[in-house]
């Protein structure tokens, strides 16, 4: 993530603004997808993305020197922002169903590469169930599963991002898998081969 490292190393407000703009453009889609998966609400994810980049910019203004692994650092800010929002009772009270656009996104993410229409319809169903299943997870479990399943990050990386030890990450992931096992078996086509 060369662009990110350059952005972090820059000092001085005008230069920082210029570098930050390109860094935000490069990272924005990834951060939005993390927020959307964790919050299961595109409007909330929009706000979370704004919060994330605003916090990142403020931190960079105060920071002197370089930040190692800026993409992980930004991911940590995004995940913590989402966890804060999940903890907020106000947000839970006003929580809405995903909009049609968001459902399309979720379905597209879960859609399999099979050209067969029936398989695609089944994959959409699985995607919907997986998105609903994510809501049954705790905030930490959701964060760990999102980073492992969608971002394909290693357990060690997740531990660094969430500032947990690897054993705790494994425990969260294990519980998440236990809760989502039916959806995941369908997603990976394991049911057809049950022994």
């Amino acid at each position: 993530m060369m662009m990110a490292q350059q952005a972090i190393a820059v000092s001085g407000a005008p230069a920082l603004l210029a570098r930050f703009a390109s860094w935000m453009a490069a990272e924005q889609r990834r951060i939005f997808l993390i927020c959307q998966r964790m919050l299961n609400d595109a409007d909330e994810a929009d706000s979370a993305v704004q919060d994330t980049f605003f916090k990142a910019y403020q931190a960079l203004e105060r920071h002197t020197g370089e930040i190692d692994e800026p993409d992980r650092w930004l991911t940590r800010i995004a995940v913590n922002t989402c966890l804060d929002r999940l903890r907020s009772k106000r947000w839970q009270f006003w929580r809405k169903r995903p909009s049609s656009e968001d459902e399309e996104t979720i379905l597209a993410m879960a859609a399999s590469a099979c050209p067969d229409a029936e398989d695609q319809a089944f994959a959409r169903q699985v995607g919907q169930r997986l998105a609903r299943g994510l809501e049954t997870l705790s905030g930490r479990q959701r964060a760990v599963f999102t980073l492992r399943h969608y971002e394909d990050r290693s357990l060690a990386e997740i531990a660094q991002i969430l500032e947990l030890d690897v054993g705790t990450v494994k425990a969260h992931l294990s519980r998440a898998l236990a809760k989502l096992r039916e959806e995941l078996k369908d997603l990976y086509g394991l049911r057809a081969h049950t022994l």
Binding site: L17, F20, A21, M24, A25, Q28, R29, R30, F32, L33, A42, D46, V49, Q50, F53, F54, Y57, Q58, E101, E104, T105, A108, M109, A110, A111, S112, A113, R148, H149, Y150, E151, D152, S154, L155, K170, L173, S174, L177, R181, L184, K185, L187, Y188, G189, L190, R191, H193, T194, L195
Partner: protein, 165 residues
């Protein structure tokens, strides 16, 4: 059932694909010896790769991303205005509290009686002065029954005057 002939369960496969079954999970010798488990494992890895690539691609409209960027920049470039807005509810509550206090206790009203100025309070009243004051309050004419008592005070005042002079 011996280890070589036991097939991996679905849960075991899931745990392995997510990295929960130890470091050697991907290159387990069982996969070489058991064609059925090997086939299921390869299929699982293939579907997992598809899921990851689709997840990373994630369909997000460019219009949404532009709106996000605009909103984020607005906050970055005007952080002070944002913080003012953040404090607005607290400031409004404080104003309402102050207004409520003002209405309950207007400036002219004081629940604690004000102390009288020192000049308006006589330092010491003699008994006769006190009697005269009380008599003046009760009416211009003292009742008859008060005459002997009044006489006593009159005598006493004369005595006091004698002592003074």
């Amino acid at each position: 059932m011996r280890e070589e002939t036991r097939h991996w369960s679905d849960d075991e496969l899931l745990r392995r694909v997510y990295g929960l079954a130890g470091e050697g999970a991907v290159s387990d010798p069982h996969l070489d010896h058991c064609p059925e488990c090997g086939a299921r494992w390869r299929q699982l890895l293939s579907r997992r790769a598809d899921a990851v690539s689709l997840a990373k691609a994630g369909s997000v409209s460019e219009e949404r991303l532009q709106r996000q960027r605009a909103a984020a920049w607005e906050r970055i470039e005007r952080p002070h205005a944002f913080w003012l807005w953040k404090w607005a509810p607290a400031a409004a509550a404080a104003c309402m509290l102050a207004a409520g206090l003002f209405l309950l206790h207007p400036p002219g009203f004081s629940p604690v009686p004000r102390p009288l100025p020192a000049s308006s309070v006589p330092a010491q009243l003699s008994d006769s002065q006190l009697f005269n004051d009380v008599a003046a309050l009760s009416g211009p004419e003292a009742p008859r029954g008060a005459a002997p008592i009044r006489g006593l005070f009159e005598e006493r005042r004369e005595t006091e005057e004698e002592v003074v002079f």
